[in-house]
């Protein structure tokens, strides 16, 4: 157990809203080993972003956090703001969806990189500058010397995301949280950024949490996948296992709803009827029951726990899991 880098136990996040408390994250347990990649997949509003904020201790002030987040043996919720600040950078780093929000628009790329290095690693200015050039080159930015003098708005979206990654990697973090890092980018640039993240992760033996709405993004680039729905993890398994034998009907339906390149045009998509439930009105049973074609009374009355009855390494929260040798991949 000591080898775990990150472990979440019973993490819940509640946000007060005019319509009552909104349970954005509902009793989530997760673990992550050093150097491994965990994909968190879900649609908007499923709580994946709030979960990442809970890990980073960057929740909005009014949010209520329950449960424990243990990182490298320390309970993050118990740390002082000062200790947390020291942790971010050398231990924990984050890449957001929109690099414009994480980069300061009035400072040059160089200033932002050099200052991060100076503040966290106590580097000399000249050394920090040399290191910045190396970092920019490592994330695939051409002519890094010149780029140091540019402002974020002078770069394209893909380049900005590369800079944000360079800043996140600058202090050699042990865990990188990438929150939809490629959603705002074009498909060819997305492939490059995902490659870059995978390469740097391997090189630095860094753990990564890759948060996305796209099952295609996690398929080839994660060790384990957690699928979230309405604030809960509804299925969690090693990536190859998850895609080979989906047990939770939601995961199956989500995969089936993605248009496939190998099906002929005008193929009707097996859409998931309805929409996700209102998180301010918790349901007694399974949150997916109203949209699930296997649902019965039991599903509507009792919440299925996230368990692994077959000791097969894959957990799921469903009363009527899909049969093991599934034809899940249509």
């Amino acid at each position: 157990m000591t080898s775990l880098l990150l472990s979440l136990e019973g993490v819940s996040v509640e946000l007060p809203t005019p319509r009552g408390a909104l349970r954005a994250v509902d009793r989530v347990d997760l673990t992550l080993m050093p150097g491994h990649t965990l994909g968190i997949v879900g649609e908007s509003g499923c709580g994946k972003t709030m979960l990442s904020r809970a890990i980073l201790q960057l929740l909005p002030k009014r949010a209520k956090l329950a449960g424990s987040v243990t990182f490298g043996g320390r309970d993050l919720a118990a740390l002082s703001p000062e200790a947390l600040r020291k942790l971010r950078g050398p231990e924990l780093a984050v890449v957001f969806q929109d690099p414009m929000t994480s980069l300061n628009p009035v400072l040059t790329i160089g200033t932002q990189l050099v200052e991060t290095l100076q503040a966290h690693l106590g580097m000399e200015r000249a050394a920090a500058r040399r290191r910045s050039v190396e970092l920019l080159a490592a994330v695939g930015i051409p002519a890094p010397e010149q780029r140091l003098r540019q402002y974020p708005h002078q770069l394209s979206g893909g380049m900005r995301q590369r800079v944000a990654i360079a800043i996140a990697l600058s202090c050699e973090p042990r865990l990188l949280v990438a929150d939809e890092p490629t959603t705002a980018l074009d498909v060819t640039v997305q492939a490059q950024i995902l490659d870059l993240l995978a390469r740097e992760q391997k090189r630095r033996h860094m753990a990564m949490i890759l948060i996305t709405h796209d099952l295609g993004v996690v398929a080839g680039r994660t060790d384990e996948v957690a699928v979230m729905y309405a604030g809960r993890v509804v299925e969690r398994a090693p990536t190859p296992k998850l895609f080979a034998h989906m047990r939770m009907p939601y995961t199956e339906a989500l995969l089936a709803a993605i248009p496939k390149l190998d099906s002929p045009p005008h193929t009707a998509l097996p859409a998931i009827a309805g929409r996700p439930p209102d998180p301010t009105r918790p349901m007694p049973g399974c949150s997916f029951a109203p949209r699930c074609r296997y649902a019965d009374d039991r599903c509507r009355e009792a919440k299925p726990p996230l368990i692994d009855p077959g000791r097969s390494g894959g957990l799921y929260a469903c009363w009527h899991p899909l049969a093991l040798p599934t034809g899940a991949r249509t």
């Binding site: 946000l15 005019p18 319509r19 009707a268 998931i272 109203p290």
Partner: protein, 290 residues
């Protein structure tokens, strides 16, 4: 073959009804105060008040009594009566002048923001010229040539308020007219008039109205300042500004002569601001998001 799985979606339509946050107590107090002042001003002639210009030289600067509830001023005129008749002038000018700005400035701003081009350049240019004009000099010039009257005062302040309304309306219209719903109306073949009236006006009106209430507050202060300087309503008609001006001479012996109108003005201006802010918050169709 397409299977439309829409039944579930329809069944799940459960949009939450708009729940307005309860207006605060402060808002209610402000509303009551404005209602009281407004009613008193409208019904001043029918209220059992002493004439505001009747002088009682024996009872100069008298403290509050049964006869004069709020005392008398330096010429022995009833303070309560003068405050209420003063409210009449302050509110008339305060509401009418920004109304001129709202109508003319709002229309100009919307047209400039929507059509752009040369019309916008000319409008913005004129507005900038008007903004650069020293307001006191204009007020002085107008009162010097046309004489002091409530109408002239209202017109001067009204004209001076046009640029601000034009700018607000233009800014809001500019951002809205790039929005998809306006483009959608264009693809439907809607005429310019229809887009302006049905798509833009309802969205521009509220920011403008909120700005109008702010304008009322500012105008009451401006009217007070002009009257204080002797450029406003001619004596002996009372206005809050001129009352403060007259009370200034006896600040040391009878401070309430200046304080009472100042307090009325303060409370009224504050009330307009509170009402304006609350109305804007209440009428936003999007509830505070998560």
């Amino acid at each position: 073959m397409a299977v439309l799985e829409i039944e579930g979606d329809t069944a799940l339509v459960s949009p939450v009804r708009r729940r307005r946050s309860r207006p605060s107590g402060l808002f209610l107090v402000a509303l009551v105060w404005l209602a009281l002042i407004g009613l008193a001003a409208i019904l001043a002639d029918f209220l059992p008040l002493v004439s505001p210009t009747d002088m009682d030289f024996l009872g100069k600067r008298a403290p509050p009594s049964a006869e004069h509830l709020l005392g008398t001023d330096q010429l022995g005129r009833d303070m309560l009566s003068r405050l209420i008749y003063g409210a009449r002038i302050s509110l008339t000018v305060g509401l009418l002048a920004p109304a001129i700005g709202l109508v003319i400035g709002g229309a100009l701003g919307m047209l400039a923001g929507y059509f752009g081009g040369r019309f916008e350049v000319i409008t913005v240019g004129c507005v900038d010229v008007l903004l650069a004009f020293p307001p006191l000099v204009l007020a002085l010039a107008v009162t010097a040539y046309l004489g002091q009257s409530v109408l002239n005062l209202t017109l001067v302040i009204g004209v001076l308020s046009i640029p601000a309304f034009t700018r607000v309306a233009r800014a809001v219209t500019l951002s809205l007219s790039q929005r998809e719903f306006v483009v959608a109306a264009r693809t439907l073949g809607a005429t310019h008039t229809r887009i302006l009236m049905r798509e833009l006006l309802p969205n521009v009106a509220l920011p403008l109205l909120a700005f109008f209430l702010l304008g009322v507050a500012v105008t009451i202060v401006v009217e007070g300042a002009l009257s204080f300087l002797g450029l406003g309503v001619p004596p002996p008609a009372p206005s809050w500004g001129s009352m403060i001006g007259e009370g200034r001479e006896s600040l040391d012996i009878a401070p309430w002569l200046a304080f009472l109108p100042a307090a009325f003005m303060f409370a009224t201006v504050l009330a307009f601001n509170i009402v304006g802010d609350t109305l804007r918050a209440l009428t936003d169709p999007r509830p505070a998001t998560l």
